[in-house]
């Protein structure tokens, strides 16, 4: 009973996060959804038009596709570790309950 109630609240948490992410896409029409950083970059060039970046990234992803590959790998690696750890903890706690 308690466990299922917890499960429900976890699903609600996930739903709320999804809603927060999707709502702007529906309600803010005609926006670019670029990075906030490129806006900051524009702001810098407005404040100090003569400023030039003095150092460039050593490596840049060759294309948007490569960048999204790297980002996806980052998320996948992290999610894999989280899933592994939570799964291990869950298995362990269930085994302990079993033994009791």
């Amino acid at each position: 009973m308690n466990q299922s109630k917890k499960g429900l609240s976890n699903w609600l948490l996930v739903l709320a996060v999804l809603a927060l992410a999707v709502a702007p896409l529906i309600f803010v029409r005609g926006a670019e959804f670029g990075g906030a950083d490129s806006k900051a970059q524009e702001a810098i060039s407005e404040i100090q038009p003569e400023y030039k970046p003095w150092f460039k990234s050593i490596f840049e992803p060759a294309s948007g596709e490569i960048a999204s590959l790297l980002f996806a790998s980052q998320a996948a690696l992290g999610a894999g570790v989280i899933g592994y750890a939570i799964g291990l903890y869950k298995g362990r706690s269930q085994q302990q309950k079993h033994e009791e």
């Binding site: 948490l13 810098i44 980002f71 992290g78 362990r92």
Partner: protein, 259 residues
């Protein structure tokens, strides 16, 4: 002749600028942190110097924790992985631009803020090296906002809320959400310090940058709070022993350091 030269010169200039814009500048949708080269040299060095001691102290506390309690390594990995995942998620926001959560609140509450200064900096380093997201010259500044200021705020907010008698879940939500928002406010301060407006100075610049970063971040901060509570729920139901253990550890060393 003179006019021709002028035309040629301006054509060359235009070609160079457009070439630079196409090739040189990072494409949009990159980097929500301060970009490579976008802090003047003296500020870049300043933030490196500020961030470095925290990183070193963090390394020390990290080795202490893992030596005393090797069974916590997996949980440490989880905290790092959480930051790793969340900082890869670019989520659209109400301002019509995208940004990403930081994920540092969870680890800061579990292990104390110094640990996160190491884990957060490693995530930033990965993004700077492989994704042109943030940068090496700006790493000090970015590490200060995301891996130091954010985690310390999270740690204090959590303990403060608990002291006031708040529930652990509410405390963890507030810690994660507010520290996420604070990270971007610090970023705005860092940019405003380096680029004060000719009219209005620091305050005018800060309002401008905060309008870009902090406003975008509001819904994302709430998302981060909710996701952190989600992981916290899992840990509580499957892993109560380690959480108990962490409470005991934190009382000893952190008590001295936070004073």
């Amino acid at each position: 002749m003179n006019r021709k030269q002028q035309a040629l010169a301006s054509l060359c200039l235009m070609a160079v600028i457009s070439f630079y814009l196409v090739v040189g500048l990072p494409k949009p949708a990159y980097a929500m942190h301060i970009m490579e080269g976008f802090l003047p040299v003296q500020w870049a060095i300043f933030w490196w110097v500020v961030a470095l001691p925290f990183f070193l102290l963090g390394l020390r506390s990290l080795t202490r924790i893992t030596q005393a309690n090797p069974q916590l390594k997996l949980l440490l990995g989880l905290a790092g992985a959480f930051t790793f995942v969340l900082s890869a998620l670019k989520i659209p926001s109400v301002t019509g631009s995208c940004s990403h959560p930081t994920g540092t609140g969870l680890g800061a509450v579990l292990f104390g803020p110094l640990t996160m200064s190491v884990l957060g900096s490693l995530v930033l380093l990965f993004q700077a090296l492989l994704l042109a997201h943030g940068g090496l010259t700006t790493l000090g500044a970015n590490a200060f906002s995301m891996a130091i200021a954010g985690p310390f705020a999270a740690y204090w907010i959590y303990n403060f809320t608990i002291k006031l008698g708040g529930k652990a879940k509410i405390a963890i939500f507030l810690a994660a959400a507010i520290s996420d928002l604070l990270t971007y406010i610090i970023t705005s301060i860092q940019l405003a310090l380096a680029f004060p407006a000719p009219v209005g100075g620091f305050i005018a610049s800060f309002t401008k940058f905060a309008g870009i970063f902090a406003l975008t971040q509001v819904p994302l901060a709430i998302s981060e709070g909710l996701l952190t509570v989600l992981v916290w729920n899992w840990l509580q139901s499957y892993n109560p022993q380690e959480l108990e253990l962490l409470k005991l550890i934190k009382r000893e060393p952190q008590g001295n350091e936070s004073v």
